[in-house]
């Protein structure tokens, strides 16, 4: 890898005072950005510049900054989490950009993810879907069975783990031309459907989660596959197919 250097960039960033305001793209110039910095560090640098210029800093979501929490979002140059695959925005590095580049930064766009401020959107729709069925009911009164006491086929365990890798970031919704949440819901349904502990509530889980998903105003999947490409955790379309199977099974029960 070539050594880090500094680049000058132009940013076109969505600014919106609050959920009611109209919002628009603002242009900012930022010089001396190290290509070794992450995209979020670059935004920190911009915010320092804005504060010095007495301009309100840009609000954006972030937490772990190591690709595990799912808080960072951002639609960068027309792609969820920017021009790289298998990463979150906090894992995106400025070496992906060239000196003189103009970079568009927009919030996730979905009716179900309303903008709260600037680049921050409200993803609580995902929480409500999860609450509608994304759990197993366990008696915690002192006689819980150790999870390892239940034998699970290696293949199923692996698939469940892979589905459970979903961090709820919402990139799938943001990148989908239909604003569909089916990759997220597919992962959450699959994670339990594959395990004996999840089988007990499987019927209601898939029906309730899909109902909640529809109520939140997410679009319908047309199998474009964009979500799978942009998902930072490599969640596969097989999970959507599994959800479709589960839903069919549950519907005819």
């Amino acid at each position: 890898m070539s050594a880090a250097k500094n680049i000058n960039i132009t940013l076109k960033i969505w600014r919106q005072k609050n959920s009611k305001a109209k919002g628009n793209l603002e242009t900012y110039k930022l010089n001396d950005v190290s290509t070794a910095s992450s995209f979020l560090e670059m935004l920190d640098q911009l915010n320092e510049q804005l504060i010095n210029d007495k301009i309100e800093p840009i609000a954006f979501d972030h937490d772990c900054r190591e690709g595990i929490c799912g808080m960072c979002s951002l639609y960068i140059n027309g792609r969820a989490h920017g021009p790289d695959t298998g990463i979150t925005t906090c894992q995106l590095h400025m070496r992906m950009f060239k000196d003189g580049d103009t970079i568009f930064v927009e919030p996730w766009r979905s009716r179900a993810f309303p903008v709260i401020k600037d680049l921050v959107v409200d993803r609580s729709a995902f929480d409500r879907i999860q609450q509608a069925g994304g759990f197993v009911s366990v008696n915690t009164s002192g006689n819980t069975i150790d999870a390892n006491a239940t034998p699970i086929a290696k293949d199923d365990a692996d698939k469940a783990f892979m589905a459970a890798a979903c961090i709820g970031c919402g990139a799938c919704v943001a990148t989908c031309k239909n604003g569909s949440a089916m990759l997220f819901v597919g992962a959450k349904v699959s994670q339990y459907a594959l395990l004996p502990q999840g089988k007990v509530e499987a019927t209601n889980r898939v029906l309730n989660m899909v109902r909640q998903m529809d109520e939140e105003g997410f679009g319908n999947c047309t199998n474009t596959g964009a979500c799978e490409v942009e998902c930072p955790k490599g969640i596969s379309l097989e999970n959507i197919a599994r959800m479709n199977r589960e839903y069919l099974k549950a519907s005819v029960k």
């Binding site: 076109k12 969505w14 793209l25 639609y75 140059n77 027309g78 792609r79 568009f104 927009e106 766009r109 979905s110 009716r111 179900a112 990148t175 031309k177 239909n178 604003g179 569909s180 089916m182 209601n204 029906l207 899909v210 109902r211 998903m213 529809d214 105003g217 997410f218 679009g219 319908n220 999947c221 047309t222 199998n223 474009t224 596959g225 964009a226 490409v229 942009e230 379309l237 097989e238 959507i240 197919a241 599994r242 959800m243 479709n244 199977r245 589960e246 839903y247 069919l248 549950a250 519907s251 005819v252 029960k253």
Partner: protein, 285 residues
């Protein structure tokens, strides 16, 4: 269907989309086999086939399923698309969809709408003529006997009727004193007895050939037909394999095979459809 509405939910709509779409793929294969007789069969064979397709009760039932499938597929498709557009009220200033999805997959509704327009015009041009047109010609053959050319109607019981001896209607027959007249578009009646003596074949072959060979509109009709088949190809390029995903079939064993077959189907079927009018316009004598 206990707690879900097998019509209303997003996933259920997709089941119907997939089932109707796959049924229409079967329909396409059947329709193609029929059409290919325009190249590989003669007029009589094609017209016999057309008669079979409009009279056999099992085929009739299938044709109703086809009409319903097209309607349902289109209405369901429009509903899904409307909801999908609503799901993103504010769009992106910059977006790069080509980076993660195919052209076809993103334009199913537009491709489908174009196919719908094609289906409607196609039905006006052929289906409606076959079913309702008062001036639908009946098949004739020309025979030469002793240096004399004569046109004969073919009848479904393998008989012949000289065209000159058949009046277009009962009124015309009584005026001209001809022995036979045509009733109900295809039936030959005896003028005195007023009983049916035979039935002709609607000459769909002639209508079709005339349509694509028309001096004024034949070329443009051929070109538009070919374009419509290209649109269908793109619709199927995504649609065929997509239907299996919608129905929940996606695994490392089957999916590559389905995708391969779907791609082949999407290219071969529309291509063969498109060759037929091109053949008629440019090569059929």
């Amino acid at each position: 269907m206990a707690k879900s509405a097998l019509l209303k939910s997003s996933i259920a709509k997709k089941y119907w989309m997939a089932l109707t779409g796959l049924f229409l793929c079967l329909f396409l294969a059947g329709h193609l086999a029929g059409n290919l007789q325009l190249i590989f069969g003669d007029a009589l064979q094609f017209n016999k086939y057309a008669l079979f397709m409009t009279s056999n009760p099992a085929v009739k039932l299938l044709s109703y399923v086809t009409y319903i499938s097209i309607l349902f597929h289109a209405v369901d498709g429009f509903m899904l698309t409307y909801q999908n557009v609503k799901a993103r009220p504010v769009g992106y200033a910059k977006s790069n969809p080509g980076a993660n999805s195919s052209f076809s997959s993103r334009n199913m509704a537009i491709l489908g709408t174009l196919i719908l327009v094609f289906i409607v015009t196609h039905m006006v041009n052929f289906w409606a003529k076959m079913h309702f047109d008062k001036n639908m010609p009946l098949q004739t053959i020309t025979v030469e006997a002793m240096g004399q050319k004569q046109d004969l109607y073919l009848t479904t019981n393998e008989g012949y009727l000289p065209v000159q001896q058949v009046a277009k209607s009962y009124d015309e027959a009584t005026k001209s004193g001809l022995q036979t007249y045509i009733e109900n578009r295809t039936e030959f009646y005896n003028t005195q007895a007023k009983v049916k003596v035979g039935e002709g074949y609607k000459d769909l072959h002639k209508i079709t050939v005339a349509f694509f060979k028309d001096a004024k509109y034949g070329l443009i009709a051929t070109i538009l037909y070919v374009i419509a088949m290209a649109v269908l190809a793109f619709h199927l390029l995504h649609g065929f394999q997509s239907a299996f995903q919608s129905l929940g079939l996606n695994n490392p064993n089957w999916t590559p095979k389905i995708k391969f077959f779907g791609t082949a189907f999407a290219i071969v079927v529309p291509l063969l459809f498109a060759i037929i009018p091109v053949y008629i316009h440019f090569f059929l004598k």
